[in-house]
Each structure stands twice: as structure tokens, then as C-alpha cells.
């Protein structure tokens, strides 16, 4: 109630109906179009061929560059291989499954150990057996990126 100077009262009420209409339309639109899933991305690059078959340019000191590969087999075993550099024999680590799953904990430990021993290793090539599921592959890649952010995936 607003009382004016003249003494007679006048009821001024804001008409909220059109505002409510606008709000209803807007809320409906936002609810329909909103995505309540949060997407994230795992960055990988494609290695044209299998890492073992990859052609690398000859280095200046005639030593092949140090490369690390990670293979996932059908029995949930992880194989880490380091080749090239001063190594006369390739360094290989086999990680057996833990509770029937990929042993990501040991993988991270071994990656830290390898990168500590060979600081020249800055990237990793990943390949898997044909039956390995995409979810498992992404999980393993994600685990390796804690130590080595640059991951190549085999595309041939």
C-alpha cells in the first residue's frame, strides 16, 4: 500500500505472470539442453606403425634412440620394454594381473623406476591385444600419463 500526499490510497502490484512465463521457458530450455556429464579428454598421438616396426632416423652417434613400449595382452598382463641407446639387450618387465585386472599400481612404480634410470625416455608407445577393451586401454594410458604425459598409440 502506498499512500500518496493526497491521502487516498493506491495499490501498486508488480505483475509477475510474464516474468514467470519467461522463467518457465528458460528453465525448460536449459534443462533439456544441459549436459550433466562432465567430459574429459585423454591426449594421445598416433604412431603410424607398430613401435617395434617403426622407422626412426639414424642418430648422429649411430646409436638407436631409447624407446619404451607398453603391450597389453589378452591375459591382463602388461609388458614394458626398453630398447635402443646403450642397451645391449632389451630391458623387459612383465607385470602379471592383480585380482584378474591390470596391475596399474605396479605399472606406475615401474614407469617411475625406468624413467629414473633412463632420463632420456620421454614418451611411450602403447599397443594391445585385439580383444582388449577400450575402457581398459584408456585406463592404462591414463595411469602412464602420470609419469609420461606423451603417449603414442599404435595405429597400424
Amino acid at each position: 500500500m502506498v499512500e500518496n500526499s493526497g491521502g487516498d490510497s493506491q495499490e501498486v502490484e508488480l505483475n509477475l505472470a510474464p516474468i514467470i512465463d519467461c522463467f518457465t521457458v528458460l528453465i525448460t530450455y536449459l534443462l533439456v539442453t544441459a549436459s550433466f556429464l562432465t567430459f574429459a579428454a585423454v591426449d594421445v598421438e598416433v604412431s603410424a606403425t607398430h613401435p617395434s616396426k617403426q622407422e626412426t632416423p639414424p642418430p648422429l652417434d649411430d646409436k638407436p634412440p631409447l624407446t619404451m613400449t607398453l603391450d597389453l595382452d589378452a591375459e591382463n598382463q602388461i609388458f614394458l620394454k626398453v630398447t635402443g641407446g646403450d642397451l645391449k639387450k632389451e630391458y623387459e618387465v612383465k607385470l602379471p594381473p592383480k585380482d584378474g585386472k591390470w596391475d596399474e599400481e605396479s605399472l606406475e612404480k615401474n614407469l617411475l623406476d625406468i624413467t629414473g634410470r633412463w632420463a632420456a625416455i620421454k614418451e611411450l608407445s602403447v599397443s594391445a591385444a585385439p580383444t582388449v577393451k577400450y575402457k581398459e586401454l584408456v585406463n592404462v594410458i591414463n595411469s602412464t600419463q602420470k609419469t609420461l604425459p606423451k603417449v603414442f598409440i599404435s595405429g597400424g
Binding site: A41, V46, Y134
Partner: protein, 164 residues
């Protein structure tokens, strides 16, 4: 003589009944602010198919999704920017397709090139957003990756759902 009580109802004086919608407007305002705040303002408008089940991964290195071509690997088809490229049967390529091109699918590569041309300039980036079903076998993923790479796309962004 006592006055007889009338059994007839007295007419109630007409009152102005209006719905009190101020509180409703308040609620709507709060809801609107909440929805606008949570509304994804990302450039990439990802709309995976309903039958696609993306893997749930707590990513360690949070990479920003870039505006680029999208390739979707579902149980029934491979789609490039929502356009059907190849039909699949339970995540598997057909025997004929595998026999003709054992390394990669030229249909996917061609469609990738075509879709790239439709994008606004500059459209020569090598990035591609990959949305693959978590149940897809590596054999299918590998073939798709080989096809994508042969079209000149080598920087992949594997889309996952962040459970956090």
C-alpha cells in the same frame, strides 16, 4: 417475538483472490541462476549417441577438449561428425570390409577429409576427438585409428566421462 434465524447463507462479499507468485518467482530465479552457472559454455558441443557408453576415468592430466572433428565408435556404426561412415555389427567390421582393406577403412578416411573441408577455415588441424564405446575391442579401435591417421589426423583426444 424472537427473530427467526435464517437458514439461507448470507452472500459473501466478493473478494479479490490473486495467486501469490512472488515466492514462485524467487524459486525460479534460484533455479535459473543454478542452471546458467552449470551450463557448459564449452566450444565443443559433444553429443554422444544414447547407445554409446563412454568410459569413466578420473583423468590425471586434464586436457581441454578442442574444437575439431569428432569420430564416434559405437556398437553399430562409426560416425564422423554425426555422419555415418561404416556400419558395424557388435563392434566388428564386416568380413568384406576387412578383406578389401586389412589396414584401415578408406571410407572413414574419405569422410574425414570431406568433413574437414566443410569446417570453417582454418580447417587443416590434425586433431580429432574420439568418442568410443568402452566395450569396443582394440582391434576395432586400432582400425579406426589407422583410418583416421591415414587422413592426416594424428592428434587424438579420447573422450571419457569424468566421475568427479
Amino acid at each position: 417475538m424472537a427473530k427467526k434465524k435464517s437458514f439461507l447463507k448470507k452472500k459473501v462479499a466478493a473478494t479479490d483472490v490473486s495467486l501469490q507468485i512472488t515466492s514462485m518467482a524467487d524459486i525460479f530465479m534460484i533455479l535459473l541462476v543454478f542452471l546458467l552457472k552449470n551450463y557448459s559454455a564449452s566450444l565443443t558441443n559433444l553429443a554422444p549417441s544414447s547407445q554409446l557408453s563412454l568410459p569413466e576415468v578420473s583423468v590425471t592430466t586434464k586436457a581441454q577438449l578442442k574444437e575439431s572433428l569428432t569420430i564416434e565408435v559405437g556398437p553399430d556404426a562409426v560416425l564422423v561428425d554425426q555422419v555415418m561412415a561404416v556400419k558395424l555389427k557388435d563392434f566388428q567390421f564386416s568380413e568384406a570390409e576387412l578383406a578389401d582393406n586389412p589396414l584401415g577403412s578408406p571410407t572413414i578416411s574419405d569422410l574425414m577429409q570431406k568433413q574437414r573441408q566443410l569446417r570453417p577455415e582454418p580447417n587443416m588441424g590434425s586433431g580429432v576427438v574420439v568418442m568410443a564405446d568402452q566395450r569396443a575391442p582394440y582391434s576395432t579401435i586400432k582400425r579406426v585409428i589407422a583410418s583416421v591417421a591415414s587422413a592426416g589426423f594424428v592428434d587424438l583426444q579420447l573422450v571419457v566421462v569424468d566421475p568427479q
